[in-house]
Subunit: 208 residues, 2 copies
DNA sequence: CTTGACAGCTAATGAGCATTAGCGTATAAT
DNA sequence: ATTATACGCTAATGCTCATTAGCTGTCAAG
């Protein structure tokens, strides 16, 4: 891997741990294995490195979201696909998504970075809301809309459904970021949440 | 208000906006209206100011949570109290709680500060999880447990109920912190969430 | 072989930072 | 009246930081 990439990698790692201001250019250089002034052969300055992280990840993130939403075409795909969604389907989907979000170094560090820098600028506030709230919610809103159309779940406002489904997932993800040692326990809670959600909204009336 | 208190106030305001490292002692002093070295007549150093913020708020926060949970006595209070809880009761409770959390300067700034400093130390991680996740959840877990006992809502795992109820509230609170101009819209969503939640779990079977 | 871009280095610069030393003044206690 | 304490100030110290200047070696293109 080229030096320019390694700088980005180490900078992101450090920024996500301590925050932008608490990391010095020298620390980044040390981590890369060069001297601080050499960084300036690759980037115009500290701020430039910070910005480059986001340009870089915008690409990656685009690819990632594309790969997810490829399954949900334009508007009315085969309803059978959504009709076949079960609690197991959902649970497995969430499990793999969270596992990826937690264990992919890049994704995980970036989320922490945006979290702690979210009030630094309107751009970062918007990025947080866009990437970690709105986008996920819109995805599930669409999913639930189709599940309603396919008569798998009850007819309720899909936006509120998505909120009720997503928010606990995001909250638990945050808990994992703060306390990685509790991951197993949190994943169990997560699975319980998904199954409760499905049971609540599935058309089969719940037995009393 | 004494200088010592004003220092804390201004320091919290600045820290919550820019983060600990981005705020200089001189900036705090300027905001208070004194020169930087004069701060040291009141606090041993910058770090000491930071710590004092948390000592101060631990007190305030204790009083606050006491004032809330005073209504929920030891174990089995009069079931009628919980039997009488309606969607309106819940919506009003949430609305006032959120309004307070958003508009009380101290509470609001502290939440932002803990949010952006949550990965700085294990203590701050624990504080965040404790204060902004666990405590709220435990409160509602207890509430729902009693509502189940009072046959207001269906029998489900109270922990998962609390998660499903709280997480959207906390997520929307975060949205308000990032985008205060959207507060009205967010409050409407919030009310929708609470009412959906109640409708879902209330014993009256939902009409199809 | 020469040239020039590339990517590292050391040394230096200048700004900003937290903090300390030491002084003056006002107010409250003796 | 004297003294001590509290609290403000200016000046200075020493450290860290981001950044620049300028040197050196490498290596591919001409």
């Amino acid at each position: 891997m080229g030096t320019k990439q390694r700088i980005l990698r180490e900078a992101l790692r450090l920024f996500s741990q301590k925050g932008y201001d608490a990391v010095s250019v020298e620390q980044i250089a040390d981590a890369v294995g060069i001297k601080a002034p050499s960084l300036y052969k690759h980037y115009k300055g500290k701020r430039d490195i910070f910005d480059a992280i986001f340009e870089e990840t915008a690409k990656r993130y685009g690819e990632f979201t594309d790969s997810i939403s490829v399954h949900m075409g334009d508007s009315d795909q085969d309803l059978a696909v959504f009709g076949a969604i079960t609690a197991d389907t959902l649970a497995e989907k969430v499990r793999s998504l969270i596992a990826y979000s937690l264990h992919d170094e890049f994704v995980s560090q970036l989320r922490r970075l945006v979290t702690i820098e979210q009030f630094r600028s309107p751009e970062l506030s918007a990025l947080y809301s866009q990437r970690y709230v709105a986008q996920i919610q819109q995805y599930h809103e669409g999913l639930f809309r189709r599940m309603i159309a396919a008569s798998v779940i009850r007819r309720e406002d899909p936006e509120l459904l998505a909120l009720m489904y997503d928010a606990p997932i995001l909250l638990l993800l945050g808990e994992c970021d703060r306390h990685p040692e509790k991951e197993q326990e949190i994943m169990d809670t997560l699975e319980g949440h998904v199954r409760l959600f499905y049971r609540l909204f599935s058309k089969q009336p719940p037995e009393e």
